[in-house]
Chain length 219, copies 2
């Protein structure tokens, strides 16, 4: 599989769930901005292009958002909230075994990056364009999610079920392989987002030097 290097990401549709999306025109503006920011980057997309995509004039956007940066801030916040929410939910549903927790985390992490490719590309890749004021919520969510993975790996090492000398590096590697999924995944890919998530969870366990999770042995 060779990706087109001319495109920043393979996906062509901006996906925002109803729960992410404000109602009415504001939601359409947000979705149009998501697609443009994902494809061209925040700095490479203009207010007028966003407005065009919604079928209005640039000036009309300011009835919905006070600035371009506020649109980016909302997208980044939604992306990181969805990420954190799905991870927290997955962790609540699994037991205390660090292997189960890594599987749950990577499942949620990868599935999110495959299902919401554009949201992930923008929320991860355009963070640097956010001022500390408008990005505060997002930055906090991001740090929490990163710390959670590191904690899981550290606990697995402490319990003797993971075998890595450098916990932070392992967490960084696992996080990285999931993040990249957003750039190549499309619904037309051979495997579903869930299947990709399962393969990557197995990769993560292997990387950590773990055997199959305990749940497999006890069932």
């Amino acid at each position: 599989m060779i990706l087109s290097p001319a495109r920043r990401l393979a996906a062509t549709r901006a996906v925002l769930l109803p729960e992410h999306k404000p109602g009415g025109t504001r939601g359409m503006v947000l979705e149009a901005a998501l697609k443009l920011f994902a494809e061209r980057g925040y700095a490479g997309a203009s207010i007028r292009e966003i407005a065009d995509a919604v079928g209005m004039r640039g000036a009309s956007l300011y009835a919905h958002y006070p600035s371009k940066e506020h649109i980016l801030a909302e997208l980044c916040r939604i992306g990181h909230e969805e990420h954190r929410r799905s991870i927290q939910r997955a962790l609540l549903e699994c037991g205390a075994d660090p292997r189960d927790q890594v599987v749950a985390y990577v499942h949620a992490h990868v599935a999110m990056h495959a299902q919401f490719t554009m949201l992930a590309v923008v929320a991860n890749g355009e963070l640097h364009a956010l001022s500390s004021e408008l990005g505060a919520t997002t930055f906090a969510l991001r740090n929490q999610s990163i710390q959670t993975l590191e904690d899981i790996v550290q606990r697995g090492v402490d319990h003797g079920v993971f075998h890595v000398a450098h916990v932070w590096l392992a967490a960084a590697a696992i996080g990285a392989m999931g993040m990249r999924v957003a750039y190549w995944y499309t619904p037309e890919f051979d495997l579903s987002s869930r299947q990709v998530a399962e393969v990557y969870a197995e990769f993560a366990l292997r990387l950590l030097g773990a055997a199959a999770p305990a749940r497999k042995e006890t069932s």
Copy 2:
């Protein structure tokens, strides 16, 4: 370790080897552009800012490059040439064992992303801003490097030393974890770029379901 989300990458210095860098003012322009493109993105950095960093006026840049896009094209080409060169060299120095080859590849891949962080961030992350004309050489190099890793993994599976059901996914995951290194590595990190490369090579072998490379057993 918590990264500052306000910065696109942790490194603060643009590194270009003498062999990458054109002589004279052209080289200074290229290096200044590298730093700005890495930190703000291609679209987010202006000709005037690049010129300022070199201590000249924007108009003077056009004595060295015909357009902003030509500067990006040269940076992307240099980055992918360095990447490909280091991988090819590493592969020539190792044997025919797919395990050795994965170690050689990941060593080179990760070391390059740690030593030339800004070059990697720009060459990977700003490719989408290149027209197909100016990006042709870079696109070809990139596809070659990706294909090489996939070939190594496939061969290892065929030889029975790797055990993965989805070769492309494994190659994508290994490539991804290395690419991300460019965003967090700095010379102040606890480990040297070589040490990080070695840890990641071990991660890759584990991910592939391989034992330690053959060379370890025969020495």
